[in-house]
């Protein structure tokens, strides 16, 4: 009999999955000795083999046990992106470990038919595959091993990982101690409870004052003590007033570049690329940890998935335009009904699986279809028959106070019908809306996607061997630009089948409490990305990464016949702004009139002048940004090829 799990990579993956599941089940209190587990029509062994992801399917004859099991599988889906689905058949519902079932079917087929079988399985998903497969799969499974039983019993064993090296966790922060404390308190317990004590969290902070530096050092030491997870600072300044590690790293890198006799413009670009601030910090981190798997943790996220509590199970829906839509899984609001709950998410484990077993975990799709804010992954289209291969980046869906951009807040602030309390929250950059998921979404891999970091982003060390760079710009497009580089370097994107919770802070980069600032910076985002994207797409294939960066830089610097900001876009923005101002200034709501006043003050003459002037201003800014980016890419090409990243 073929044992598909004898394939080494499949076997390792099964081991990692089983350990992750065992730890989660232990945390959920699901134990083999429980009465409801023992009293069913299966031996507890069968049930746990299924729950640990070793057995592809399990038929449940007992309705009561099926209901209990559904609750457990639901929790596993949210905590681990386990992707367990239920198929109703005439005799009894069948629970399916979809990833394993897909892999098993592929493995069980003779090599010649494998591609076709896989195609069929991927296209239809196992949930709909015919019963032949299901019965075939049910009869073959890997038995549980003793260490998996031990993990179920709560034994703390070292985590099994698919990555060749331990990943590096990076918490990027402006360095306000209160925010850092909050973030550490959110992330560390979850990481610890899932048994990842061997990981190191790098606190990449920009704290500029001695007092903050001292506090952050104390915080790092305290966190290391309390949670057993090493927290180290990658900082600008140390508590003793000396230059911090990040600062030193930057200085060394710049010194090396200095020896290359770069033109002055490029030296300036290098300084800007690595300067304190979000992009500079990201660039320093990318350069410093090249070759390692990175888990980029956003300060305003917490590793919990909001389950909105609905129990009706729905698959991805295909709409009339052939897109597969996740929207059915999602509700925008979590009322106070109490039905919603939060699941701690084992995100290091999920990222590990998604990066290093992408083809086993993910359904391949051609692209993400942009939605209102272009930053969610709710719609994908173009199911593809062949798996994509290892992913370069892993994203999570975002729930909680979703990281929508300032335009949405502007719209709500402008809405006379909302309550004054809500308006006050929006005006502060907050978000009184909550998003939860009615069902954990499937894991998908994508060739084309728009990257907004949002919560936690995983980068593959393989992809970062030649590190990516973040556009050092005041326009809030850094995270998008990183994803764009990755995409045009042919890396696959993966969206894990669960969500992480996001909170809009008043002071973080996502909710900066200066709503009106979106007016210029926000609106340049898409034109700029479009320009760089068009240029990258037009380039011939260049395998060598530094050469490619140079070529992109060159093509961005070349004089262009067309505008970066389409005139129609500037014209429409101008018209809308004017109309918004007119409306807000006439409003009966005092807060709205104040908002209009601020808005007008921010915009100055640009709304009063003809839209052509507004367009000219946007175009000037955009051109400056593109020229600066071209210089950055040139410099980055030097850093990647000669200055020795990764030490």
């Amino acid at each position: 009999m073929t044992t598909y799990w004898s394939d080494p990579s499949l076997g390792r993956w099964l081991g990692a999955v089983a350990q992750g599941r065992a730890l989660a089940l232990n945390a959920l209190g699901v134990h083999p000795n429980e009465p409801w587990v023992a009293a069913g029509d299966h031996a507890p062994g069968d049930l746990f083999e299924f729950l640990l992801g070793l057995r592809p399917t399990l038929r449940m004859h007992d309705g009561v046990r099926a209901r209990r099991l559904k609750r457990v599988t639901r929790a596993l889906n949210f905590r681990l992106a386990a992707q367990i689905t239920w198929v109703d058949t005439p005799t009894a519902p069948i629970a399916v470990n979809t990833s394993l079932a897909r892999a098993a079917v592929a493995a069980l087929h003779p090599a010649a038919d494998r591609a076709a079988a896989l195609t069929e399985i991927i296209r239809t998903s196992v949930a709909r595959a015919d019963t032949h497969y299901i019965s075939l799969l049910t009869s073959r499974y890997r038995p549980m091993r003793s260490e998996e039983w031990a993990a179920l019993d709560g034994a703390r064993l070292p985590r099994v990982r698919l990555a060749p090296q331990r990943p590096v966790l990076v918490l990027s922060s402006a360095g306000r101690p209160a925010d850092v404390r909050k973030a550490l308190l959110a992330y560390l317990p979850v990481i610890r409870d899932y048994g990842h004590q061997d990981l190191t969290l790098v606190l990449a902070d920009d704290a500029a004052s001695l007092a903050s530096a001292v506090q952050l050092e104390a915080l790092a030491a305290e966190a290391t003590d309390r949670h057993g997870i090493e927290v180290v600072r990658f900082s600008e300044w140390r508590g003793d007033g000396c230059r911090g590690v990040k600062h030193q790293f930057r200085d060394r890198l710049l010194q090396r570049l200095d020896r290359l006799d770069l033109p002055r413009h490029d030296v300036e670009a290098a300084g800007r690329t690595l300067a304190p601030g979000l992009p500079g910090t990201a660039n320093a981190v990318f350069a410093r940890f090249a070759g390692r798997d990175l888990l980029w943790l956003e300060e305003d996220a917490i590793p919990f998935a909001v389950d909105s509590g609905s129990s009706d199970s729905r698959d991805m829906v295909t709409n009339t335009e052939g897109e597969r839509v996740l929207a059915e899984h999602m509700v925008d609001l979590i009322g106070d009904s109490g039905a919603s709950r939060r699941h701690p998410v084992d995100f290091p484990h999920i990222v590990d699986r998604c990066l290093h077993a992408t083809d086993l975990e993910a359904l391949p799709f051609a692209e993400q279809t942009p939605t209102y804010e272009d930053a969610g992954f709710e719609r994908v289209s173009g199911a593809e028959p062949e798996p994509h291969g290892a992913a370069g980046m892993v994203h999570f869906h975002t729930c909680g106070e979703v990281d929508y951009r300032a335009r949405l807040s502007h719209r709500f602030v402008m809405n006379e019908a909302i309550t004054p309390e809500d308006r006050a929250i929006f005006l502060k950059g907050g978000m009184p809306l909550q998003k939860g998921f009615t069902e954990a979404p499937p894991t998908v891999s994508l060739r084309q996607w728009t990257s907004a970091f949002g919560t936690v982003v995983g980068f593959s060390g393989q992809a970062l061997l030649r590190p990516l760079t973040m556009w050092a710009s005041k326009v809030r497009l850094g995270d998008f630009a990183v994803g764009q580089l990755a995409r045009f370097r042919g890396l696959t994107g993966c969206v894990a089948g669960t969500a992480l919770e996001h909170h809009r802070g008043d002071v973080t980069d996502s909710g900066r409490g200066e709503l009106a600032s979106y007016l210029v910076n926000e609106e340049l985002l898409w034109p700029l990305l479009r320009r760089t994207g068009t240029k990258m797409a037009a380039l011939p294939q260049i395998r060598d990464y530094p050469q490619w960066l140079l070529a992109v830089g060159e093509s961005l610097r070349a004089p262009q016949p067309d505008f970066i900001v389409p005139p129609a876009l500037a014209h429409s923005l101008h018209a809308e702004l004017n109309e918004d101002l007119r409306q807000a200034e006439r409003s009966t709501v005092p807060a709205l009139r104040d908002y209009a006043m601020t808005l007008r003050a921010c915009l100055g003459a640009f709304v009063e002048n003809p839209w052509i002037d507004y367009h000219a201003m946007l175009e000037r800014q955009a051109t400056a940004e593109v020229v600066a980016y071209a210089a950055q890419l040139r410099v980055w090409s030097r850093i990647v090829s000669s200055a020795g990243a990764g030490e």
Partner: protein
């Protein structure tokens, strides 16, 4: 019966005209003429043919008979609805003359700019008359209406715009009222049943139903829609100006895109507008864009928001999508119409109540 051209009449009656007084009652005779051919005496015919008396050239001669000349009103709309007073007030006379001269020029496609100036003269005269002696003469207004209607798309766009009152919209000019009354004079509004009101222009997007839209300005929207339909079907100058303006407008593609999204009930319509704007949206017929802009400009978005919030109780992201689309199309309409209300542009004041479209008037 042989037909003679006006030129032949000119050449056959060229003597002694200076001695001939203008026949009294000619104007009142017009009143009864309608579209029928009328019998004129030789003297009247002579007057008719006087090249200096352009104001009378609005009859075209179709034949010469023993009694004189057989003529037909060339521009029936120039005829007053009722006989004028025998001795009209000089101001009215001046206005009349100016309008008639303008009409002839417009109808014959000559010297359009001069025609516009003539209309402006009429406007001034009539405004003065109204200030001193009460409401203006309906016949004259009808004549103005006709003049405005005589303008065809191939005419000078600037003149068109001026006639429309497009540029002359400051204050309540006769030209404005003229254009407005064109639509009132066209006869009763068509049946306002469900078929007469195509609410596809007012999209039934996710979350906003027709009831809500109707409450948010439905009656006005219907009226605007009907006025637009009339203008469109009859090729009214108001419409042709809008059409030309829309064709040359930077935002017509953007408007088309927003309208398409608003009209879509698909969830995919949530696409962020500006992003998609960057990828050339497929074109929409100009007329549809104009309808959309006119109709959406009448809606009270705050009312929609309120209704939406009342029905759902909570705001959500979908609301913002809709709000943004509505705000956009309203902003574009504001610019497209130069801030002038849609009905004003189309020439009808909001007057008659319009039945509910969903119930076909049987409320």
């Amino acid at each position: 019966m042989p037909l003679y051209s006006t030129a032949e009449i000119y050449s056959s009656a060229t003597t002694g005209r200076d001695e001939m007084p203008i026949p009294e009652g000619l104007l009142s005779m017009w009143a009864n003429a309608g579209q029928e051919a009328v019998q004129l005496t030789a003297r009247q015919a002579w007057l008719l043919a006087d090249p200096r008396e352009d104001s009378y050239r609005c009859l075209s001669v179709i034949g010469i008979t023993a009694e004189g000349v057989l003529a037909r009103p060339a521009f029936g709309w120039l005829l007053p609805q009722r006989p004028l007073a025998r001795t009209p007030h000089p101001l009215v006379s001046r206005a009349y003359t100016a309008v008639q001269q303008a009409s002839v020029m417009l109808a014959q496609r000559v010297d359009i700019h001069q025609a516009v100036l003539q209309l402006a003269t009429a406007n001034a005269a009539l405004a003065q008359w109204e200030r001193t002696s009460g409401p203006s003469d309906d016949a004259l207004v009808a004549a103005c209406s006709g003049a405005a209607r005589a303008v065809r798309p191939e005419a000078d766009p600037r003149a068109l715009a001026e006639i429309q009152g497009w540029f002359g919209r400051h204050g309540d000019s006769l030209l404005d009222r003229t254009v407005r009354r064109v639509f009132q004079a066209t006869g009763p509004l068509p049946d306002t049943g469900p078929r007469a009101y195509d609410d596809s222009y007012l999209a039934t997007r996710v979350g906003v139903n027709r009831e809500v839209l109707f409450r948010a300005g439905g009656a006005l929207a219907v009226q605007v829609y009907q006025a637009a339909t009339l203008a469109h079907q009859h090729g009214e100058p108001a419409w042709t100006v809008l059409q030309r303006r829309c064709d040359q407008w930077t935002l017509s593609a953007a408007s088309a895109h927003v309208l398409r999204l608003l009209a879509s009930t698909a969830r995919t319509a949530a696409s962020r507008v500006h992003r998609t704007l960057l990828q050339e949206p497929p074109p929409l017929p100009t007329a549809r864009i104009i309808y959309g802009l006119l109709v959406w400009s009448t809606l009270d978005t705050a009312e929609i928001q309120r209704a939406k919030l009342l029905s759902d109780g909570e705001s959500e992201v979908g609301d913002a999508v809709l709000l943004e689309l509505m705000a956009q199309i309203k902003a574009y309409a504001h610019e497209f119409l130069d801030g002038v209300p849609a009905l004003h542009v189309l020439g009808s004041p909001p007057s008659r109540p319009v039945p509910h479209p969903a119930t076909g008037g049987r409320r």
